[in-house]
């Protein structure tokens, strides 16, 4: 285990795969060999019993022949005719015995040839027996009788010889087959143990690895759960902190402003000019600080907790944003062209904020001698066209909303910087603001699992691209 722990995760994973693969191949190979050997063993077992059957049949044939010969001789020497019938009965039942032998040795060419010879000999044997096994055999002339009797004797001898040869052959076969059977028996015994051993090793290794993996997995899960819990807690604390901090910071500022204000109102006329100016600076700075804190507060409140997403037409939040900006729109004579927007599952109030900040941004940075003209374009795009898209978002589709203006634009090297909180590209004396508008836009879009980018060339207007997933990823 210590060895396993010291190698890297990647290597271990490959090692496990290799071990598993090898073990499986080994088990399959061994099982196949076992199967083959088993087949051989069965084959030889069958052959052994077959040979034993052949030997039995040969013995039956031999004893049948003895019986016939004995009965025939008994009749010939004792002249008791009862033996005739007994002998004929034995002869009649003899083909049954030889037939068994025929079928049993049909697989052996040598034995088959011998059987054929046996049958030829039996033909003569039957014929001569038929000649001799008659009650009036005594009427036969001695020469014919002798010829038949001798012939019968010869055939009997030949048949016995054949049977003995066949028995010898079968006995030899039996021995060699028994030997083969024993060899395979031993092999199969060894294979049994080998397969058992490999399986046990394989299973125990797999168990150890699996157990270790499960333990580690559980550790990771517990760890992950703890981290998520901590993260949630610290997020909640951070939100709370931002809220409390900005709320509480507003208090002393209100006082600073109020007292500076009151001093100016009450004693402004009596104060020297430079003191007056300094009091005005105090007032302006604290006013600006108030703005910053208010914006920070609204940034910290742009979160998804406590609200539920709704499927709405984006035309609604857009119209609301436009209405909220009606004053600056008419002041600046801005012209806004908006294509129909899709229905998306969103946090409606955040969308109002997004459109409001985008429009306000375009209006604020208009060219001095030109009224702002803003186009809002919409189309459906695939995730792969989005720069630096997350791999998981590559294959899904996105709503692309473009806000294009004819304003002063910006150098493209600032395309990312403009979304950072409190980042400003211009002097405050030229353009008012805290530099939080686009940071909130970015946060809103991130809250919706989307993307926002800016494109511009200095003096040639800017276009901001918002991508929102077609299928909501909000939970």
């Amino acid at each position: 285990m210590r060895l396993l722990r010291s190698i890297t995760e990647q290597k271990l994973s490959w090692l496990v795969r290799f071990l598993l693969g090898t073990s499986l191949l080994l088990i399959i190979g061994l099982s196949y060999s076992y199967h083959t050997i088993n087949k051989q063993l069965l084959y030889f077992s069958e052959k052994v019993s077959h040979t034993q059957r052949v030997i039995t049949a040969l013995k039956e044939t031999s004893s049948g022949l003895y019986e016939i010969t004995f009965l025939t001789n008994s009749f010939l020497f004792l002249r008791d005719t009862t033996y005739i019938n007994k002998s004929l009965a034995a002869i009649a039942s003899f083909p049954e015995i030889t037939y068994k032998l025929d079928t049993l040795v049909s697989d052996n060419a040598v034995q088959k040839r011998r059987i054929r010879m046996l049958h030829r000999n039996l033909e003569v044997f039957y014929t001569q027996s038929a000649v001799l096994l008659k009650p009036d055999v005594i009427a036969l002339n001695p020469i014919s009788f002798y010829a038949s009797y001798t012939s019968l004797g010869n055939e009997t001898t030949s048949i016995r010889k054949l049977i003995s040869e066949m028995t010898d052959t079968e006995t030899m076969l039996l021995q060699s087959r028994i030997q083969s059977k024993e060899i395979y028996s031993k092999q199969i015994f060894r294979y049994n143990w080998l397969i058992l051993l490999v399986t046990v090793v394989f299973l125990s290794t797999a168990f150890v690895l699996l157990d270790r993996e499960l333990v580690r997995n559980k550790m990771y899960r517990v760890d992950l759960e703890n981290k998520i819990e901590n993260l949630n807690r610290s997020n909640a604390e951070l939100e709370q902190f931002a809220y409390v901090a900005s709320h509480d910071m507003k208090e002393p500022l209100r006082k600073i402003r109020s007292f500076a204000d009151r001093t100016l109102i009450k004693y402004g006329k009596d104060l020297p000019d430079d003191v007056n100016q300094m009091m005005i600076k105090i007032d302006n700075s604290s006013q600006r600080m108030q703005l910053l804190i208010t914006d920070l507060l609204s940034f910290s409140r742009t979160v998804n907790t406590g609200t539920t997403p709704k499927s709405i037409s984006l035309n609604i939040p857009f119209a609301e944003a436009r209405a909220n900006l009606s004053e600056i729109i008419s002041e600046s004579n801005a012209i806004i062209h908006c294509e129909p927007l899709p229905t998306v599952e969103v946090y409606p109030s955040q969308m109002v904020q997004l459109f409001q900040n985008l429009l306000a941004n375009s209006i604020k940075y208009h060219k001095e001698n030109q009224s702002p003209v803003i186009h809002i374009r919409y189309k459906l795009v695939s995730g792969e066209v989005i720069p630096n898209v997350q791999p998981a978002h590559r294959d899904i589709r996105f709503h692309k909303i473009e806000v294009i203006d004819n304003g002063i634009g910006f150098d493209k090297k600032f395309a990312e910087k403009i979304f950072v909180i409190f980042q400003r590209l211009h002097d405050r004396s030229k353009f008012e603001g805290t530099g939080i508008g686009l940071a909130i836009c970015k946060r809103v879009v991130s809250n919706h699992n989307g993307y926002i980018f800016a494109e511009s060339m200095e003096g040639k207007g800017a276009s901001l691209h918002v991508y929102l997933p077609l299928e909501s990823l909000l939970t």
């Binding site: 208090e251 209100r254 006082k255 402003r257 109020s258 007292f259 204000d261 109102i265 007032d283 108030q290």
Partner: protein, 138 residues
């Protein structure tokens, strides 16, 4: 114009000073009496007899001892004081605080302005509406 008292309870001395200044700068003749918390306000009211009910009460929400909500509840459940107009004067802009104040019987809710100019205007508006326009209970 009556010169009945206006009461104000606020634990913040600066705010008391600024409100006083705003009343002065607007030349409002009614005397304003200040208290540091709800308890002082209730004690003051208890000492007075029926004929001397204040014209208006300006009430901060978050104060030590008795906070604005408790004072509201107490005044509204009291037969003698339940008709006194109460203006909540707080820094909180949380919708929950605003709603709760009206539910408890506040007549008006003003978020403390972020500048003296704003405060002066708010006090002027109080004068215009509550002192000059509206008819208040006796």
């Amino acid at each position: 114009m009556s010169t009945r008292q206006i009461l104000m309870a606020d634990d913040d001395a600066d705010d008391r000073f600024l409100v006083q200044a705003a009343f002065e700068d607007n030349n409002i003749p009614n005397p304003v009496v200040f208290f540091e918390d709800g308890e002082q306000l209730i004690n003051h009211l208890s000492k007075n007899d029926l004929n001397d009910n204040p014209l208006l009460i300006l009430l901060d929400l978050n104060m030590p001892k008795r906070d604005g909500r408790e004072v509201l509840k107490l005044l509204r459940s009291n037969k003698v004081w339940n008709a006194i107009p109460i203006i909540i004067f707080s820094t909180s802009n949380a919708p929950d605080d605003v709603n709760a104040a009206y539910q408890l019987g506040a007549n008006c809710y003003i978020i403390k302005p972020s500048s003296y100019e704003g405060l002066k205007e708010a006090v002027l508006n109080i004068q215009k509406f509550w002192l000059n326009t509206a008819t208040l209970p006796v």
